[in-house]
Amino acid sequence: MADTDFQTDDAPLATSKRSGAVDEATGALLEPKGDSLVARAVTINRPAAELYAYWRDFRNLASFMDNVVSVSPIDDRRSHWTVKAPGGRTVEWTAVITEERENELIAWASEDGADVPNSGRIDFRDAGARGTVVTATVLYDPPGGAIGKVIAKMFQREPAIQARRDLRRFKQLMETGEIATSSRTREQFEEEKA
């Protein structure tokens, strides 16, 4: 396959096979941190304003992001994140909003000293009768580099897997008012969440 140095199609940058694509996607981010890129889109059958409002209250994020222990707002633009990592550890950072447009966009970057430097953007795009397309684009520095990424994958804490599942849970919560579980008893339910 020819590794062209420019994009010849209209596909999202994060789906590109070209080696330069991460840098280009990074350029689209306001303040790039890290070199591993994850992007996922999901269509949610609800208005953009409702989805944006729920997401923008960062305390809500732990309700559908399984790895997030807590997100605590510090002030209007900064929040403190505590996230599960492989091996029963947690990682922490402070994120600052780098840009926001009501009902359209939330972009952030971690501050210096983050356990996992990361930045990204959540786009909310009106999709007419189908609701809203929510696209998450996340750039991060995996702890332990490439090896850390493999280990995280083994423990299902790899951000690409997590982003996919978190967006599905967000969709479920917004569309159905609950997050689907196949647990039979409360005990199983708590075990699965742990």
Binding site: N45, T176, A180, R184, F189
Partner: protein, 394 residues
């Protein structure tokens, strides 16, 4: 509670397990009064379906009484309901189009990975049918937790027996949708491969939709007898050359619509590596063409192919050339049960559709392992086993 749990190939047992609980606001708990063993349960029994775990509770055809409801359930305690085998949210884009089996939200987020890899997008959840369809505990049990109870279960009026309505859960809507997908026009001749419950309901449905003739194909004499009872002409493929017979019976034209209610010989949800295993161990020794291959060859030019039979992975020797050259149309899919239930309940109550004829055996839930073995060993006589949690063990 007591529940029929899968432990391995040809090993199902009635175990004592914890009762289900309400976990989400839209949940309800159903006390099961009748539950059936489905032909597709035999594929679990035969160990063909991947992502099964020891202790999984089986069963996706069930009904019962509402005994507990979550804050957002619309059901009331004491109501009798039939529960669809598909777990669908009722609020996503697909549910809005009544494509319930394509629901976006029926599967837990983690369980969606397998179907996404295999099929491109995840499907709805199913009760009691492996972890790739959600890992939900099934209805061959005393109690079941039913998610999205405000959109799934249908309330049954008093005075209508369990046995009349139980099959609204799966096989009746599946047979009906099969006939609907055949886009039957008045005067049509429709050929149905497989006279299992779905095929037999497809025969009845095809006549109700205006088919002039229905030709039913199977090799179990008793099942062909049942098809005949509803007015079908029959072909026993063990005694008769099916394609030649169909061509003669239709004056050389071929059936206007064909329905494959057989599916893959060893069907189910196979990843391709599993298929390879099965192929190596089973299929090389047999030369029986898949029903779908024969159906496509027999179908008249410009005709319709309906495929309710379950396929999971990849199929060899699919006659794509015949399909294209003859300009056929293929419609298929898991059943959108919730969409069909209300009208079919009416059809049953008006006596337009006979459901009880199918039941050959009734037994206690405690005897379910015996029921599985009987169904597995003799599909001629055993057409449907209904399990009753309140029957005493034999």
């Amino acid at each position: 509670m007591r529940a029929l749990a899968w432990h391995g190939r040809h090993d199902v047992r009635v175990d004592t397990v914890d009762d289900p609980e309400i976990l989400n606001p839209r949940d309800a708990i159903i006390k099961v009064t009748s539950t059936a063993i489905c032909g597709s349960d035999l594929h679990l029994y035969d160990g063909y379906i991947p992502t099964m775990q020891a202790g999984d509770i089986l069963g996706h055809e069930f009904m019962g009484e509402v005994v507990e409801v979550g804050a957002k359930s619309t059901l009331k305690k004491g109501q009798r309901v039939v529960v669809p085998f598909t777990i669908s949210c009722g609020s996503c884009y697909h549910c809005g189009k009544h494509q319930y089996s394509a629901c976006d939200n029926g599967l837990p987020a983690d369980n969606q990975d397998i179907a996404q890899e295999l099929y491109g997008q995840p499907m709805s959840g199913l009760f009691g049918y492996s972890h790739m369809t959600g890992g939900y505990a099934g209805g061959q049990a005393e109690y079941v937790r039913v998610p999205f109870s405000d959109v799934g279960p249908i309330v049954i009026p008093d005075g209508v027996s369990d046995e009349k309505v139980l099959f609204l859960s799966d096989i009746l809507p599946t047979g009906w949708m099969a006939a609907e997908n055949a886009e039957i026009e008045p005067g049509d001749t429709v050929a149905v491969w497989g006279c299992g419950p779905v095929g037999l309901f497809a025969v009845q449905s095809a006549f109700l939709m205006g088919a002039e003739r229905v030709i039913a194909i199977d090799h179990f004499p008793h099942r062909l007898e049942l098809a005949k009872r509803f007015g079908a002409e029959t072909i026993n493929f063990e005694e008769t050359a099916t394609y030649e017979a169909l061509m003669q019976m239709t004056g050389g034209i071929g059936p206007d619509a064909v329905i494959d209610s057989v599916g893959l010989e060893a069907h189910g949800f196979f990843a391709d590596n599993v298929i390879d295993q099965i192929k190596a161990s089973l299929m090389l020794g047999t030369d029986r063409p898949h029903a779908i291959r024969q159906a496509i060859l027999a179908c008249r030019k410009g005709g319709r192919v309906s495929m309710p039979g379950v396929y999971g992975g990849f199929v060899d020797k699919f006659p794509l050339g015949a399909f294209m050259e003859k300009g056929l149309t293929l419609k298929t899919g898991q059943t959108h049960v919730q969409h069909y239930m209300p009208a079919l309940l009416n059809a049953i109550m008006e006596g337009k559709i006979d459901t009880e004829f199918l039941i050959s055996h009734r037994m206690a839930l405690e005897d379910a392992p015996k029921g599985y073995k009987m169904f597995h060993d003799d599909q001629n006589v055993v057409t449907k086993v209904v399990l009753k949690p309140d029957f005493a063990a034999a």
